[in-house]
């Protein structure tokens, strides 16, 4: 039975949610998470403890190799075999799939695969369909809304590989909107993105968090922090600093996260 359950995918079977959010639970809670990649001996994550509340917009900051992507992959279940606990709205991370959506790093997506923008956005609805079900009118409407919100209606029938980096990222965020998740994970969404798209992405994220969704964005771009985030978590295999952006954005923290010496007497 368990095996059959694993073969199936998608959200809840009936009209009611199988795993309603536990009252007063965090949108995301990681407790002492440790992880080693198979056939490696070094911990990529070494005791990460972190919690995100509904309505929060959190930046996950750190250099390449700090474990940002790995942490996001653990949350969606892309990597398994970690120690510690990860909970989403009070349940083990992978129990209710429709709550978590990811915009993965650009390099993990096969942009040349022959799919249209509309088809990609529709894959955001798949979690509500599962095997055998075809998209219904409601799904079509949700997709149309998402395309309109991200201002890509006129691109709907184009092949995604033909678009610019910024347009592609709009498509991915549109998919997340169609997914209608409560916890959004965005892995380096600002790479190769034009300013207009960046502003649209943040504007959309701000609206979503105002509606009570939780958003975690991984980035190595320190510039966007001060403007767009309420909270920053500096990560380098463990949490180095966590708090309001203006509090944690100190030269000491940045130096520690990015692994260089901080000299007090350095005068720029």
């Amino acid at each position: 039975m368990n095996f059959l359950r694993r073969l199936n995918y998608g959200a809840c079977r009936g009209d009611e949610c199988d795993t309603p959010a536990v009252p007063h639970s965090f949108a995301l809670e990681a407790r002492d998470v440790r992880f080693v990649y198979p056939r490696s001996s070094a911990y990529v994550l070494d005791g990460v403890t972190l919690s995100v509340q509904a309505g929060e917009r959190v930046a996950l900051v750190g250099p390449n190799g700090a474990g940002k992507s790995t942490l996001l992959h653990l949350i969606i279940g892309m990597e398994q075999g970690y120690a510690g606990a990860i909970e989403v709205y009070g349940h083990p991370a992978h129990e209710c799939r429709h709550r978590v959506a990811i915009v993965p790093q650009r390099s993990t997506v096969d942009w040349r695969f022959p799919v249209t923008v509309r088809q990609v956005v529709m894959t955001g609805r798949y979690v509500h369909l599962g095997w055998f079900k075809r998209p219904r009118q409601e799904d079509q409407d949700r997709v149309q809304d998402a395309l309109e919100t991200m201002d890509i209606v006129e691109l709907a029938n184009r092949q995604v590989g033909e678009l610019s980096g910024g347009q592609q990222q709009r498509v991915m965020l549109a998919r997340t909107l169609a997914h209608d998740a409560d916890l959004l994970l965005l892995d380096e969404p600002l790479n190769h993105v034009d300013i207009g798209t960046q502003e649209l992405i943040f504007h959309t994220l701000e609206r979503l968090t105002a509606d009570g969704k939780a958003v975690v964005v991984s980035t190595h771009d320190l510039g966007v922090l001060t403007v767009h985030f309420t909270r920053a978590v500096f990560l380098d295999r463990r949490v180095i600093a966590d708090g309001r952006v203006d509090e944690v954005m100190t030269p000491e923290t940045v130096a520690k996260a990015y692994g260089f010496e901080f000299h007090k007497d350095y005068v720029p």
């Binding site: 198979p38 892309m78 978590v100 990811i102 997506v109 695969f113 022959p114 799919v115 798949y126």
Partner: protein, 285 residues
């Protein structure tokens, strides 16, 4: 002209051969788009070679070559998964090991039990040696392929385009991969009868490659692949009948020429478009 077309069809074994060729080309063409766009060409090639020992074992013990071949394909798929799993070795390395090992074993076994003429039939296909029960099996494989792709096309699409999203919604990309490998194994096994081990790849790769020069819609690519494969099979079949050449190479070369035409015409279109764009941007406002 009509006589020219009808003459070969006077013989039952020839009609069966043509039907077999058409069925094999349908199931190969249906998978072709996924083989091309998921980069499964090498594993397709490997499967077609790795089933040789299964065929020989079936020949020795006198059971259906189809199930012998399918068994060997299953061994190959599992061995590749096992060797490349958990990041031990890269997948193409695993495919190379299993492919060459099983094929070598097949050739060795074959050289002990049969003549090299039989080997020739397996390597290059023997479209005129198809029995009635072979045809039934082939029809079953075509139906299984159509049903499986109809049920799972949206899952294949999402797992191919974005594995991370696929995992996030609980759909295992590995499961999707194995569904495709299973269909690939079934299809390869039936196609070997008509085009042989060496040229199965042409039915699996060339149609969608040619179609992708013309369109970038998955649905169009699949439909065009099927049409091109059917045309190539019929054409290759007649060439083979009248010029007394093997059917496999005749079909494969027809497909190759389709690709060349599609490739050249897409390059011409592209350069025309570029010239048009330059002319527009240079035009005075």
């Amino acid at each position: 002209m009509i006589e020219f077309l009808l003459e070969p069809l006077g013989y039952g074994f020839v009609i069966r051969g043509l039907a077999a060729g058409l069925l094999a080309s349908i199931s190969c063409a249906l998978l072709s788009a996924f083989v091309v766009w998921r980069g499964m060409a090498f594993v397709g090639d490997a499967l077609s070679h790795a089933i040789l020992p299964g065929i020989v074992v079936a020949y020795i013990f006198g059971f259906s070559l189809f199930f012998g071949a399918l068994g060997a394909a299953a061994v190959a798929v599992l061995a590749i998964g096992l060797i490349s799993g958990r990041r031990r070795l890269k997948e193409d390395t695993a495919i190379g090991i299993v492919f060459s090992g099983l094929f070598a074993l097949g050739v060795l076994m074959m050289s002990r039990v049969t003549t090299y003429q039989d080997l020739g039939h397996i390597l290059f296909g023997n479209i005129l040696g198809v029995s009635r029960s072979d045809l039934v099996l082939m029809l079953a494989v075509v139906i299984v392929t159509i049903v499986a792709l109809t049920i799972s096309h949206k899952e294949i699409l999402v797992a191919s385009f974005d594995p991370a999203h696929s995992v996030a919604i609980g759909l295992s990309p590995t499961l999707v991969r194995y569904i495709l490998l299973f269909l690939l194994a079934l299809t390869t096994v039936v196609a070997i009868q008509t085009v042989g081990v060496i040229l199965v790849l042409s039915l699996l790769v060339t149609p969608a490659a040619a179609a992708s020069m013309v369109s970038n819609r998955l649905r169009t690519i699949i439909s065009l692949s099927v049409v091109m494969s059917l045309v190539a099979t019929v054409f290759g079949f007649y060439v083979s009948y009248y010029s007394d050449v093997a059917s496999g190479p005749a079909i494969a070369l027809t497909l190759t020429s389709f690709f060349v035409v599609a490739f050249v015409s897409s390059r011409i279109r592209e350069s025309r478009r570029r010239v048009g764009e330059e002319a527009r941007s240079n035009a005075p406002a």
